[in-house]
């Protein structure tokens, strides 16, 4: 028979809490996930949640094509774009560690097909940023205008955008992120909070 007493668990919780409050007091709670105590905890949890063994599914060429498309969907402006935010790595991770073979096949075939339709005499990766924007913009307009049906393109765009807005630059520079808001204000002027919340 196991007899456990809560004392130990409570003490641990208290010290964890004290640590967090101390970080908060120093004004660095925004970074608490990366901080000493809490950072290790988060990293450990993530490790426990890992599903598959990491291998690289997409080839370098495929990643190059994906990167060109992702950075055209979300380019660097006054804030980082998709590539700077690490979006291609996230998608490589999804295909390599998260999805099943159907997922992988869907992405490989889809990516190749979209890339082919974006490339003419000049391959998409060889185009200038302006050319890429014109070509991809026209394709996007056809898909969303109903002229072309392309579920994969929409899935890819959604995934690129999701990976971007969940990235640190996407959440904290492009959007507004408050890890610990501290309070809820139901009715606030938009002038004070003009950006979309990251979460």
């Amino acid at each position: 028979m196991t007899r456990l007493n809560l004392t130990q668990a409570r003490m641990n919780r208290r010290s964890a809490l004290t640590g967090l409050l101390a970080i908060s007091a120093s004004g660095a709670l925004a970074a608490c996930g990366n901080g000493a105590g809490a950072g290790q905890t988060a990293a450990e949890s993530i490790d426990l949640l890992r599903y598959a063994k990491p291998t690289k599914f997409f080839s370098d060429a495929e990643i190059k094509a994906l990167s060109a498309i992702a950075d055209t969907i979300i380019p660097t402006t006054d804030t980082p774009g998709a590539v700077a935010a690490g979006v291609p790595d996230v998608i490589q991770g999804l295909a390599s560690e998260w999805g099943d073979d159907n997922f992988r096949q869907y992405w490989r075939e889809g990516l190749r097909r979209v890339y082919k339709s974006l490339s003419g005499e000049t391959k998409f990766v060889a185009m200038s940023a302006q050319e890429r924007e014109a070509v991809l913009g026209a394709y996007d307009a056809k898909v969303y205008g109903g002229e072309t049906e392309d579920g994969f393109y929409r899935d890819m765009k959604k995934t690129v955008a999701t990976a971007y807005y969940m990235s640190e630059p996407g959440a904290t520079e492009e959007l507004a992120y408050e890890p610990v808001p501290g309070e809820w204000i139901g009715q606030a002027p938009i002038s004070k909070y003009p950006k979309t919340w990251a979460t």
Binding site: L4, E133, W184, Q187
Partner: protein
């Protein structure tokens, strides 16, 4: 000499309360929990930032393989799955032609860790429902009897709400912590709905999140809600009520609590000569060793299905139908809540307003059907939960455009989105029940449950009207309805029984021992030192979230049991 004064089976919403109340009265209490001991520094994931979430926090194949049933829950994702059971380890069956979805977690605190924190009292209308329409058996208590216990439960747990709201079907004690503010659109909706229907009210939700902690709560290491809305991942601030944040620490500081984790209770030990239960018999789920724990009295707080199964499995020659079951009602009258009527849409105006923080709460439209307005072809009623907030980025990434323009569009807060969804009462019916499987057991040797639960026209007709009401209220508020299920409700359309995650009623209370296993004190009519105060005791379900009622009844039952033990009655 017994090991303990009281053995409490289960550490969740109600078991934590029983342990606290008994420990504070000086009794030695063992809380026997079948799940593992939670460790916040390992199990809570509330400090994980979005970019630390592996694979965009999308449910992977492991979620669907290991958690086919649990992964359907809104609160389930990769950073909360540690709080839900692996379905393969915890099988159950359903009777032919029936459906049931059973959602649960096995660990210290049970579902008090993952609950949605909505905290509402039952009213006199609810306590009189069975007696009035003749379904089920009458409640043995009334609101006046329970009001001080609700006061007590709310004050210790810490519930935020608007003390100025005067709602007949949702009474309160006037001591809520400050309410969450409604958004600009919710304030507009409230005016529009209450203006069009003077018979309806819209209030801010009453949530067990601390907005102004008391000295008592601070002393337990609990802090103020930080408006992160990560509650389903556990709260390192202890800001929402759970057994982990509130009741077990209160019990533990008395020095009278022993938490025994990883022990599944299979039956109660019973002494025929004295007609008393003498403790529990079970198994250590990790080592498979048999476990026996003795106590002078036993509280069942394992939740409605397991508590009934433990009694049914405690068979003997003298009690072939299980212990405490002379009424034949143990396992029967399985209740829950029926969801399903919903509408969502968008609203064009109020673009000058936004909101700050993340509210772990929404608004509530209390029951008006068969109260201030008639219901169409059913008894009892339903309430609505909902929220109206500006759209984030998630719903807007699949829109036309690329490049700097697409980025700039998403950076601006989206328009206003609204949703409301109904939660309705289910009728007490003897036919809806749980039974022990005749041959199959889980891997620890305990019979698996077989659920036999069906919706009737009463639930179906109520959801039909709820769907129409949802649609009409959104339109009345000036919203454009994008989706609703008005006119679409059939039995097949309704989600399965159990999906409301509020199973109850299987060991109901009542004054008539032939009709109810428990008396007005959550005490067995048959066996004086046997108590049950989890959802099993509920004589009717009402339509509001039940946890606050479990808390109030548990505190009251423990107080009564303590008196009986002090007086030498048990």
């Amino acid at each position: 000499m017994a090991d303990f004064d009281f053995v409490v089976v289960g550490s969740g919403m109600s078991g934590g309360w029983v342990a606290k109340e008994l420990c504070e009265r000086g009794f030695k209490v063992a809380v026997v929990e079948r799940g593992r001991e939670l460790k916040p520094e390992v199990d809570y994931t509330d400090m994980v930032d979005p970019w630390q979430m592996e694979h965009l926090n999308m449910k992977g194949p492991d979620s669907y393989e290991d958690y086919p049933i649990q992964s359907e829950v809104y609160a389930f994702h990769s950073y909360t799955k540690q709080f839900w059971v692996k379905d393969a380890d915890h099988p159950y069956e359903t009777a032919p032609g029936t459906r049931y979805r059973w959602r649960r977690g096995h660990h210290t605190g049970g579902r008090s860790i993952m609950w949605a924190r909505q905290s509402y009292r039952m009213s006199e209308i609810d306590f009189k429902a069975n007696a009035t329409d003749g379904y089920g058996t009458p409640w043995p208590v009334d609101y006046a009897e329970m009001a001080p216990w609700y006061d007590y439960a709310e004050e210790f747990a810490g519930v935020s709400g608007d003390n100025n709201d005067d709602v007949e079907v949702l009474p309160h004690g006037g001591k809520y912590q400050p309410p969450h503010e409604m958004t600009a659109l919710e304030k507009h909706m409230k005016k529009a709905i209450e203006g069009q229907w003077p018979t309806r009210q819209m209030i801010i939700g009453r949530a067990a999140n601390l907005t102004q902690p008391t000295e008592e709560q601070l002393a337990l290491g609990r802090g103020s809600c930080q408006a992160r809305d990560h509650c389903f991942r556990g709260c390192s601030f202890g800001a929402y009520f759970s057994s982990m944040s509130a009741t077990l620490p209160a019990a533990e500081r008395t020095g009278n609590l022993t938490l025994i984790s990883d022990v599944a209770v299979h039956k109660l030990s019973y002494d025929e000569a004295t007609n008393r239960v003498t403790g529990i018999e079970g198994v250590n789920t990790q080592t498979m060793e048999p476990v026996t724990i003795t106590g002078r009295a036993v509280f069942l707080n394992a939740s409605a299905i397991p508590s009934a199964m433990i009694l049914l499995n405690s068979k003997s020659a003298k009690h072939p139908n299980g212990l405490g079951n002379s009424s034949g009602h143990v396992g029967h009258n399985l209740l829950g809540h029926v969801g399903g009527g919903y509408a969502n849409g968008y609203f064009e105006g109020l673009q000058e307003f936004h909101h700050y923080g993340r509210r772990p709460n929404g608004f509530y439209i209390p029951r008006f059907r068969n109260h201030t307005e008639e219901g169409d072809g059913y008894l009892r009623g339903y309430g609505f939960q909902g929220s109206a907030t500006r759209a984030g980025w998630g719903g807007r990434v699949d829109e036309a455009g690329i490049g700097a323009g697409y980025k700039a569009e998403i950076q601006k807060p989206g328009g206003w989105n609204i949703w409301i969804g109904s939660f309705g009462e289910t009728m007490p019916r003897f036919e809806n029940h749980v039974a022990l499987h005749k041959t199959k057991t889980d891997k620890w040797g305990f019979p698996i449950p077989v659920m036999d639960c069906r919706w009737t026209d009463n639930e179906i007709n109520a959801v039909k009207q709820a769907a129409a009401d949802a649609h009409d209220m959104l339109e009345a508020a000036g919203a454009t309805v994008l989706a609703s299920n008005k006119g679409k409700i059939t039995e097949a359309y309704l989600s399965a029984p159990g999906n409301g995650i509020h199973e109850m009623g299987t060991i109901r209370m009542g004054d008539d021992p032939a009709e109810a296993p428990l008396n007005r004190w959550n005490q067995s009519h048959d066996i004086p030192n046997l108590f049950c105060s989890d959802g099993s005791f509920m004589t009717s379900s009402a339509c509001q979230n039940p946890s606050l009622s479990y808390m109030a009844f548990s505190a009251r039952a423990a107080d009564h049991a303590a008196k009986l033990m002090k007086d030498g009655v048990i």
